[in-house]
């Protein structure tokens, strides 16, 4: 590919990078690369792998000691696209998701819905697995290296090289750490200092960013605590989602519990603007969530193995930046590709899908010897017709609605549903009829009577269409 790629600078003396304490591969830096990928997260490693498969010489640059060292998610990894590219079954997976549960928490009650379709027990398990990013991201980057990519770690990209508007390489924090390459794939995650610094995207407003905190917990003195408490056998696992004031107070967001092999991940995420204005700090909110009466029994006797924090871009379809530039593309969280609306928290699948399409667009542009934005436009087009942009657009309205109705949905309704539930099932000597109508009355009152209920139904009908 190097022969056809334009603008390849092989002048070693200025462009060579000193990476003596790299842990991976021993590349020959006299050969320039066709493409540089900034960040070995899910989007970056997928892009590197795909481009390497297409025959490109790829440099994958990661600031952590190893890929995954700086990364945090909930989390459930969604693998529909990844499965087409790598042997997912050989990856370090924790558990497949056999049950999803949605719990509405008022300050002391829970009302929950649980879904556990039998088919989730069968491969490919609805393509949903808990993983630990420290292990998984390293594995995925290794797959890219096996496909021929070169990985350097402990190297932070500090800026982009430009010739006019065109991106022609990267600057790093290594001595002489400048590398020219015809294509740069920006896969740096949501804290996208490089893309912003080069004016390829604007900094998000804090209303569009969520802060997430998470703990990985173990149960030192309780063998089988995870299997027993979450009713699991074999590799089955759960993903529990929580909303309402018992989860994140009056903030916009939610809490989660996921089961790993020998640990559980518990955490929450909510809007930064709420964290700044109304809600206690993230750590305090996490403490309250963990001690909620519906959550505490699941976590009793646990010890903290790791405490982590990270942000989520959640601006949705409206906030996707220009994805394609002369010599550069933006993928994954750096492009704001996360669906986070309460029902779904999906970014891993979007990171992989975008990395894949971007890589194919680069490979095809390289074949034509072009680096201009028009030649890379296939990336934007493919992404727009993929589930990524479709889903982000489809749920745009939901986020706006939920935001507008947040008091009702997160505070009043959870309380009313819990009250109605306890009324409906109340054990006393009054006839059930009477309980049922009191329960109905309480629910109706919360939503504003029959008219209110009808309006609410109309507002959310698209959920089912």
């Amino acid at each position: 590919m190097t022969e056809t790629a334009p603008e390849t600078d092989t002048d070693g003396s200025t462009d060579r990078i000193d990476l003596t304490d790299r842990d991976t591969a021993t590349p020959d830096y006299d050969d320039a690369f066709d493409a540089v990928v900034v960040g070995a997260g899910l989007a970056g490693s997928t892009a590197a792998l795909t481009m390497a498969d297409e025959g490109l010489d790829v440099l994958l640059v990661e600031r952590g000691r190893y890929p995954g060292a700086k990364n945090v998610f909930g989390g459930v990894l969604y693998t529909p696209t990844l499965r087409q590219l790598v042997d997912v079954d050989a990856a370090p997976l924790e558990r497949y998701i056999a049950e999803r549960r949605f719990g509405m928490l008022s300050d002391e009650d829970e009302t929950a819905v649980s879904i556990s379709p039998g088919e989730w027990h069968d491969p490919p398990h609805n393509d949903s697995y808990t993983v630990l990013r420290g292990e998984f991201d390293e594995w995925l980057a290794e797959q890219a290296v096996e496909a021929g990519a070169t990985l350097v770690t402990r190297t932070t990209v500090t800026g982009l090289l430009r010739e006019g508007d065109r991106v022609v390489g990267i600057e790093t924090d290594r001595p002489d750490g400048t590398i020219r390459a015809p294509y740069v794939v920006l896969a740096e995650g949501g804290n996208s200092l490089v893309s912003e610094g080069a004016d390829l995207k604007e900094k998000d407003r804090r209303e569009n960013v969520a802060v997430g905190v998470k703990e990985v917990l173990e149960f030192p003195e309780r063998e089988h605590a995870i299997e027993d408490r979450f009713r699991l056998t074999g590799d089955a696992g759960v993903s529990y989602h929580y909303f309402g004031e018992g989860a994140v107070g009056d903030a916009f967001g939610g809490g989660f519990i996921y089961t790993n092999g020998d640990t559980v991940s518990v955490g929450l995420a909510y809007r930064l603007s709420d964290a700044a204005t109304s809600q206690p700090d993230p750590e305090g909110t996490l403490n309250a969530f963990k001690t909620h009466p519906a959550v505490a029994p699941l976590l009793r006797g646990a010890r903290t193995v790791e405490y982590t924090a990270k942000t989520i871009p959640e601006g949705g379809a409206d906030e996707i930046p220009e994805l394609v530039h002369d010599g550069a593309v933006i993928v994954g969280d750096a492009a704001g590709l996360v669906l986070n609306n309460g029902l779904h928290l999906e970014g891993t699948n979007m990171a992989v899908e975008s990395g894949y399409h971007a890589a194919n667009a680069v490979a095809s542009a390289a074949q034509r010897g072009r680096t201009d934005a028009d030649a890379l436009a296939a990336y934007r087009e493919d992404l727009e017709s993929s589930f990524v942009v479709e889903n982000l657009e489809r749920y745009e309205w939901l986020i706006e609605r939920v935001q507008a109705d947040r008091e009702l949905l997160f505070e009043e309704l959870p309380r009313a549903v819990a009250d109605a539930g306890s009324e409906y099932f109340r054990m006393d000597r009054a006839p059930k009829d009477q309980h049922a109508s009191t329960a109905k009355r309480e629910l109706l009152r919360a939503v504003g009577g029959y008219t209110g209920a009808a309006k609410l139904a109309v507002r959310y009908r698209k959920l089912l269409s």
Binding site: F73, T156, A296, R300, T308
Partner: protein, 104 residues
């Protein structure tokens, strides 16, 4: 023992113990700063940087300019967005220093 009957106690570790679970390499210099201290001291009344930080890095300072315990930083980026005056200087610690997560 449970304060409320029927609800088991969950021990929440202190922020110090929590941060202790994360491997950390000191980059030597702070990767965080405020751009114009005067804005913190005179203009800012909300200290949102302090409110959002999950790692107790930003602390109210006596002169109105926050103290920054950068070695607690989990590199989440929250303070960068939260400051309503765009007054947070935020860089990644050099060459992989800072936090290293094992699980993530």
């Amino acid at each position: 023992m449970s304060v409320e009957p029927g609800i088991p106690t969950v021990d929440n570790e202190s922020i110090e113990d929590r941060l202790y679970t994360v491997k950390y390499e000191d980059p030597g210099d702070s990767h965080l700063d405020v751009t114009i201290p005067g804005i913190c001291a005179e203009k800012c009344v909300t200290t949102d940087c302090v409110k959002v930080c999950p790692a107790d890095v930003w602390r109210e300072g006596e002169d109105g300019v926050p103290n920054i315990a950068y070695e607690n930083c989990l590199e989440c980026g929250s303070c960068r967005w939260a400051c309503p005056h765009g007054n947070v200087e935020w860089e990644y610690p050099d060459t992989g220093a800072g936090v290293t997560y094992k699980n993530g």
